[in-house]
């Protein structure tokens, strides 16, 4: 019964019969396609041609379509090619594929210079849109915050506490570990290079100022953008994809108030705490390295630290934290709510959330640096 498919040419009087035999199914599709392409070359010949399928053992959509394709290309002349010996079983299948119109040509867009320029143009124009949507979200969050202040009962405490646990409490181990290591590295590098000038002890000044003013908060903010910003975007994005946000809206809830505000609040509370813990861990790590590697004993380290830094350094660092948290949160929520229906879109927006979050954190850090320099802190 079954066997490799064949398409034999048998002359029958004036006519030429193309006898299809064997299994005409998907598994043999590559062979079938080649045979049919060969047979198509017969079109336009003097003989009338018909296709005999009575010997076909098994037929599926692939086989049926290829027979139909062959029939169509043989038909190009005045006489229509016929299919003979079609069993009742397969007749409906062949009828089915007969209804298929010729395939529309699928145009693939070529890469052109104008296309690339257009992309760049759209990208630049998109920057304005990004800023506008961020300001938009900031306004919406502030409005929702004001609404909650007036109606304190609508505040979602449980949700806020839940997110606080996620972004603050659960982040403590990794943040402390990484800032500790960075503190160690800064101290080690400082001692290694300062030792040549016999200025080992100044590593304490460098560590104290650097960690409290910059590294502590900046590093933690970047990690939070990667850890919690991406989570916010993915959560909101998948809720958007499953129409959960639309459902909230139709029930009369403001998604900003229900979803965004608790997340923002949790982040704004979490980042100063994490920045403080991070700074302490970095100082501890630095102190440890200074002691074990640089021979600065803990007493001398603390004494020097007390001289080197003032409360100003600490304030400069910690004041930045809530602002950076707000920036990360807003970017993450804007990106989350911009997710479209596909998994690819979710991925793109999550990436964008982290990249933009880190970018804006660094920009904000620069703005703060200028500000504090001008007021002399």
């Amino acid at each position: 019964m079954s066997g490799d498919p064949k398409l034999e040419r048998i002359a029958k009087g004036n006519a030429l019969a193309l006898c299809a035999t064997g299994t005409w199914t998907a598994s043999f599709a590559p062979v079938l396609e080649r045979m049919v392409a060969d047979a198509e070359k017969l079109a336009g010949g003097p003989q009338s041609i018909f296709i005999d399928v009575s010997e076909v053992a098994k037929l599926d959509t692939f086989g049926a379509w290829l027979i139909e394709r062959l029939r169509r290309s043989l038909t190009k002349g005045a006489v229509e090619a016929q299919i003979a010996g079609l069993s009742a079983n397969y007749a409906s299948l062949v009828d089915e594929v007969r209804r298929v119109r010729a395939t529309p040509v699928i145009e693939t867009s070529a890469i052109t210079i104008t296309g690339m320029l257009e992309q760049i143009g759209r990208g630049v124009a998109g920057v304005g849109g990004t800023i506008a949507s961020l300001v938009d979200m900031l306004g919406a969050v502030l409005a929702a915050g004001a609404h909650v202040l007036i109606h304190p009962r609508s505040f979602r405490l449980t949700s806020t506490v839940h997110h606080l646990e996620q972004v603050c409490w659960r982040a403590v181990p990794i943040i402390v570990l990484i800032t500790f290591l960075i503190g160690c590295i800064i101290a080690q590098q400082g001692i290694f290079h300062f030792r040549r000038f016999g200025a080992d002890i100044f590593v304490v000044d460098m560590l104290g100022v650097l960690v409290l003013r910059e590294i502590g908060v900046l590093l933690v903010a970047i990690m939070v953008a990667g850890r919690s910003g991406s989570a916010y975007t993915a959560e909101l994005g998948s809720m958007k994809m499953r129409e959960e946000i639309d459902a909230l809206r139709t029930m009369g809830f403001d998604p900003i108030e229900v979803l965004v505000l608790p997340r923002m609040l949790a982040l704004v509370l979490a980042l100063p705490i994490l920045a403080f813990l991070g700074a302490m861990a970095a100082l501890y790590g630095g102190g440890l390295v200074a002691w074990l590697y640089g021979g600065v004993d803990p007493g001398a380290f603390l004494l020097r630290l007390r001289d080197a830094i003032s409360i100003d350094h600490f304030i400069v660092g910690i004041v930045k934290a809530p602002v950076m948290a707000a920036v990360i949160g807003i970017v993450a929520c804007v990106e989350g709510l911009a997710v479209q229906g596909s998994a690819e879109s979710l991925g793109q927006h999550t990436t964008a959330s982290v990249v933009k979050g880190i970018f804006f954190v660094i920009v904000m850090d620069g703005v703060f640096a200028i500000f504090f320099a001008s007021i002399g802190m």
């Binding site: 959509t61 079983n89 409906s92 594929v97 298929v100």
Partner: protein, 260 residues
């Protein structure tokens, strides 16, 4: 080869023996036995939450089972090697409840995805077969370049069916294929399943709640309850059954409306 084919014709296409599936402390399937014969359309019913989808997913291999054996096309899926399993997977198609279309691919790419992996054929043939499949499931050719997020629920079902059928499988699993379709669309769908079964010799395993589908499309019906098959047979057998749930199901208001 001939011997093998002979065996395949005689044996059931799916043979499920003593399947037990447990999630935590809840036993969902408890020593379940089921045979699906070659070329039949089996309608699979049962109360919501009885484990119909779980059984389907267990047969396909998505849910691990505690005990029992599953044979599909005469291949024991537990003791088979990778290539045997791949071979079985190539011969079945699955329509998931929510469609499970790849959201970042167009309809055309979704349908061509299995072909691209398993068959070495030209892009032209794939495009033409895609159009044929779309026509078969009753969709217009211009749907081909759309993304799943731009389709309606019914269209997603149809595209998902087209994808399940893209390799012309011998066996298809349909998980609630007509839910979310309008009655006319659902009727067409049943008709389509019947046509495909007739023309392609397809075996269909259909989880459904649609009484119309049970009456018009299914050759045999199996009923799941308490983790076991409580009844299996023709629609007449179901109506004659004295089981309380079956009585309610097949003699309820909705069933009477369908029958009249």
């Amino acid at each position: 080869m001939a011997q093998e084919t002979q065996n395949e014709i005689q044996n059931p296409i799916i043979r499920v023996r003593d399947i037990t599936v447990q999630f935590g402390a809840t036993r969902v399937l408890d020593g379940l036995n089921l045979d699906v014969k070659r070329g039949e359309i089996l309608g699979f019913v049962g109360p919501s939450g009885a484990g119909k989808s779980v059984l389907t997913r267990t047969i396909i291999g998505l849910v691990p089972k505690l005990a029992g054996s599953i044979e599909v096309f005469g291949v024991d899926l537990d003791s088979s090697n990778t290539s045997q399993r791949r071979n079985v997977e190539r011969r079945w198609g699955v329509l998931f409840q929510q469609g499970a279309l790849f959201s970042s691919l167009t309809v055309r790419q979704n349908i061509q995805f299995p072909m691209r992996e398993y068959l070495r054929v030209s892009q032209r043939l794939m495009d033409e077969i895609t159009m044929a499949k779309l026509a078969m499931v009753g969709l217009k050719p211009d749907v081909a370049e759309r993304f799943p997020s731009e389709l309606s629920g019914g269209m997603i079902k149809r595209v998902a069916l087209a994808r399940a059928l893209s390799l012309d499988p011998d066996l298809v699993f349909l998980d609630e294929p007509t839910s979310g379709l309008d009655p006319i669309g659902a009727g067409d769908f049943d008709e389509l399943v019947r046509t495909l079964q007739r023309t392609l010799g397809l075996t269909v395993f259909m989880v459904t709640h649609d009484l119309d589908s049970l009456y018009t499309a299914c050759d045999r019906i199996a009923v799941l309850g308490n983790g076991k098959i409580i009844a299996a047979g023709s629609i007449a057998d179901m109506q004659a059954s004295q089981h309380p749930w079956l009585r309610q199901y097949f003699h309820g208001k909705r069933a009477r409306a369908v029958m009249s």
